[in-house]
């Protein structure tokens, strides 16, 4: 557990090269899966195309459960990209972690609060952007004083709270999973007896981490759409 992060400073910006690496790998994997799934499109889908179409229907279902399709249709690609990117990111840290010179290189990018909060801020900013785009500035502004004027500070706090919970929930779940995996793996290398003893919980925890990764990807997408609907729809 004495892993340190690689560190790099460039053009006045601070980089964690391992994050850069894992973000790139996750993006490339998502892109490859998506392109493989939509390479030879047919009227009668088979194999990967079936899976991708199921995914599209799934995200469509998420959007439809929060807002009507006329306003929600434009968020379909956003939701699809989010759910796939986060799912793949969550899965990346599960099978192994690579540390070079006690610097951790291979892990889930979503096990870093910087990454998850970046995604969360991006989503919340997008909700504001689309609120203005769909409803107009005036309607968007007046939304902060409903149902009563004194609610304004609460509304402001709500935005920050939404951002923080959205980002930190994902981070916490994945980080906790990886910490426990690292502990179990560390125990496994301590000796034969500990290795045998830690093998079973390792399996169980990896299975549970897969489950958590799937659920977190779903929750992140769901909440994105809920916030989006909250801002974009008229009924509140």
């Amino acid at each position: 557990m004495e892993h340190k992060a690689p560190h790099l400073e460039l053009l006045g910006l601070t980089f964690n090269p391992s994050n850069i690496l894992m973000i790139t790998i996750a993006s490339v994997i998502v892109f490859i899966i998506a392109v493989l799934g939509s390479r030879s499109l047919q009227m009668r889908p088979s194999g990967m195309q079936n899976f991708m179409e199921w995914l599209i229907d799934f995200v469509k279902g998420i959007i439809n459960s929060t807002m009507d399709w006329k306003t929600g249709g434009r968020f379909l690609t956003l939701g699809l990209t989010i759910i796939m990117y986060i799912f793949v990111s969550n899965m990346l840290g599960l099978p192994f972690a690579i540390a070079v010179d006690s610097e951790l290189w291979w892990k889930s990018p979503t096990a870093d609060p910087t990454i998850t909060l970046t995604l969360a801020v991006m989503v919340v900013v997008l909700t504001h952007f689309y609120a203005i785009k769909v409803k107009g500035t005036k309607s968007y502004g007046s939304e902060f004083f409903k149902p009563m004027k004194f609610m304004f500070p609460l509304k402001i706090i709500e935005e920050f709270a939404n951002t923080l919970t959205l980002g930190l929930r994902l981070y916490g779940n994945i980080y906790a999973g990886e910490v426990l995996l690292a502990l179990l793996a560390g125990a496994g290398t301590a000796g034969i007896f500990a290795g045998v003893l830690s093998f079973l919980p390792m399996m169980v925890w990896q299975g549970f981490s897969i489950f958590v990764g799937v659920i977190q990807a779903f929750i992140f997408t769901m909440l994105t759409m809920v916030y989006m609907a909250h801002k974009v729809s008229d009924e509140h």
Binding site: F15, I23, Q42, I56, E103, T114
Partner: protein, 175 residues
């Protein structure tokens, strides 16, 4: 107290905010979003929409052909009914004609029979007439003969009576 050290909030965390990571993550996500929209989601949704249209077309087509088939069926049923009715009418007509013909034949036969009977009767009458005529003629001749015999033969009254009776008897038997 290992986990309370803020440096350990990230697996192997460094100090400070990784501004570069933030920018890179944003950039990567936006690029990924656009690439996927162009190369994956776009075509996929296109084909899904196309399939939807195709299916709806097929359903419309099926509906239409079903209706057509129904109308053909109705037409056929009507034609069949018509044909059956026509056949019934034909049979009826034939039966009527047969009856008519039978009656005609019967009547003709009856007439023929009547005619034959009448002609037979008239024949009989004529024959009878003829016979009577012949008889009359014969009676006349016989009378003449008797008379001549009576005249030619002189007899006593008794014998004469007997003779007359005999002749009369003879005549009656000869008849």
């Amino acid at each position: 107290m290992h986990f309370l050290n803020p440096d350990n909030l990230v697996l192997g965390a460094g100090a400070g905010v990784n501004t570069g990571d933030i920018l890179f993550q944003l950039l990567a996500f936006i690029v990924l979003l656009f690439l996927l929209r162009k190369y994956a989601w776009g075509p996929l949704m296109g084909i899904m929409k196309k399939r939807e249209e195709h299916i709806s077309n097929e359903i419309n087509e099926a509906e239409k052909s079903r209706k057509e088939a129904q109308s053909y069926l109705d037409e056929q049923t009507a034609a069949l009914k018509e044909a059956r009715k026509e056949a019934q009418a034909l049979i009826e007509a034939a039966k009527k004609q047969g009856e008519q013909q039978g009656e005609d034949i019967l009547r003709a036969a009856r007439e023929e029979a009547n005619r034959m009977k009448e002609s037979a009767l008239s024949e009989i009458d004529r024959e009878k007439e003829q016979a009577v005529q012949t008889l009359r003629n014969e009676v006349a001749t016989l009378s003449v003969q008797i008379a001549s015999k009576v005249i030619t033969k002189e007899l006593d009254e008794q014998a004469q009576q007997k003779l007359v009776n005999d002749y009369l008897k003879e005549v009656g038997e000869g008849r």
